[in-house]
């Protein structure tokens, strides 16, 4: 049985995101002026199987996928 998990990694809210700001500026140049904030994160799509899958996803989320000094993460696990 194959499992899927998504790990969403975001910069912590108190950290400035200059990339997000640059993207926001682009949105404004395109005329989308009701948008007032954009922050950029990452999504990791993970597949695997076995009883250890969920634990391993939690482990790599905190030890590899996110840098805990500057990032928070969220795990969403789905069963096929």
């Amino acid at each position: 049985m194959q499992y899927k998990a998504n790990v969403i990694v975001r910069l912590k809210s108190d950290i400035l995101d200059p990339q997000g700001k640059a993207i926001l500026n682009s949105a404004h140049k395109l005329g989308y002026t009701s948008i007032t904030g954009i922050r950029m994160g990452k999504v990791f799509e993970i597949i695997g199987s076995g009883d250890s899958f969920e634990k391993e996803v939690r482990d790599i989320a905190s030890k590899l996928l996110a840098n805990p000094v500057i990032e928070d993460y969220e795990i969403r696990i789905e069963n096929d």
Partner: protein, 231 residues
């Protein structure tokens, strides 16, 4: 005779410059250390050079920080030996939590290749003892992810313990936001650990040791090592 190891990761590209300075200019016994080595002999100093190890995939220095060689480097540090992380090397050290904080994208979102001034804040370290206190030196930077950040407690601790070795400044040594190329908190360009044997800095001292380059302000960096580690 000071023994130096320059670690090479896939994508490191400043290893040869560091090797050249250490061996040809300083006369240290220098060798390359491969990232997959599990054992490093009794070296005095390990350098993690600049570059784009693992293509900066995931985060700069993130994948390198889990390399096989890192365990041996941690033991080297525990033995009280010395480590210098330059640019990508500094990123690797923070990712491995061997130095506090993190390096993030420059506020401008641009890669900056430029000469900057640094104020030498602490001359009581193995890389800065040959400089005058609060002297302003010129060193090149070349990075996109050099903005140093850490939480309030960490910054306070670094300040209180005088762990900030270099700060971005102007040619007078004034430390202000205008002279900060990347938005690093408190204009931090280089920090040392509490024990004083691990330093990380974003600028490239190995690129300014001979008159043919921008300047020679980097030479004292290496002469400091000769004085401190050699004694």
């Amino acid at each position: 005779m000071i023994k130096v190891g320059v670690v090479v990761f896939p994508g490191s590209n400043c290893d040869e410059d560091v090797y050249y300075v250490m061996s040809s200019i300083m006369g240290f016994e220098t060798k390359y250390v491969w990232h997959r080595d599990t054992y490093i002999e009794d070296l005095d100093l390990i350098v993690l050079p600049g570059g784009f190890s693992y293509g900066d995939y995931l985060r700069c220095g993130a994948i390198s920080s889990h390399s096989i060689i890192m365990e041996a480097i941690k033991q080297h540090i525990n033995r009280g030996r010395y480590v210098i992380g330059i640019c990508n090397g500094f990123q690797i050290l923070t990712e491995a939590a061997l130095l506090p904080g993190a390096l993030t994208m420059n506020m401008s979102t641009r890669f900056i290749c430029d000469n900057v001034y640094l104020s030498v804040e602490n001359i009581n370290t193995f890389v800065s003892n040959q400089y005058s206190e609060k002297s302003a030196i010129m060193m090149p930077i070349a990075h996109k992810d050099g903005r140093y950040i850490a939480n309030e407690d960490t910054i306070k601790k670094l300040e209180d313990n005088q762990q900030i070795v270099f700060r971005y400044s102007n040619s007078n040594g004034d430390i202000e936001a205008d002279y900060n190329p990347n938005g690093s908190l408190h204009n931090i360009a280089g920090i040392i650990n509490e024990k004083g044997n691990v330093i990380g800095l974003m600028p490239h001292p190995e690129r300014c040791v001979e008159g043919v380059f921008t300047g020679k302000d980097g030479l004292h960096f290496f002469e400091s090592i000769a004085k401190w580690v050699g004694d």
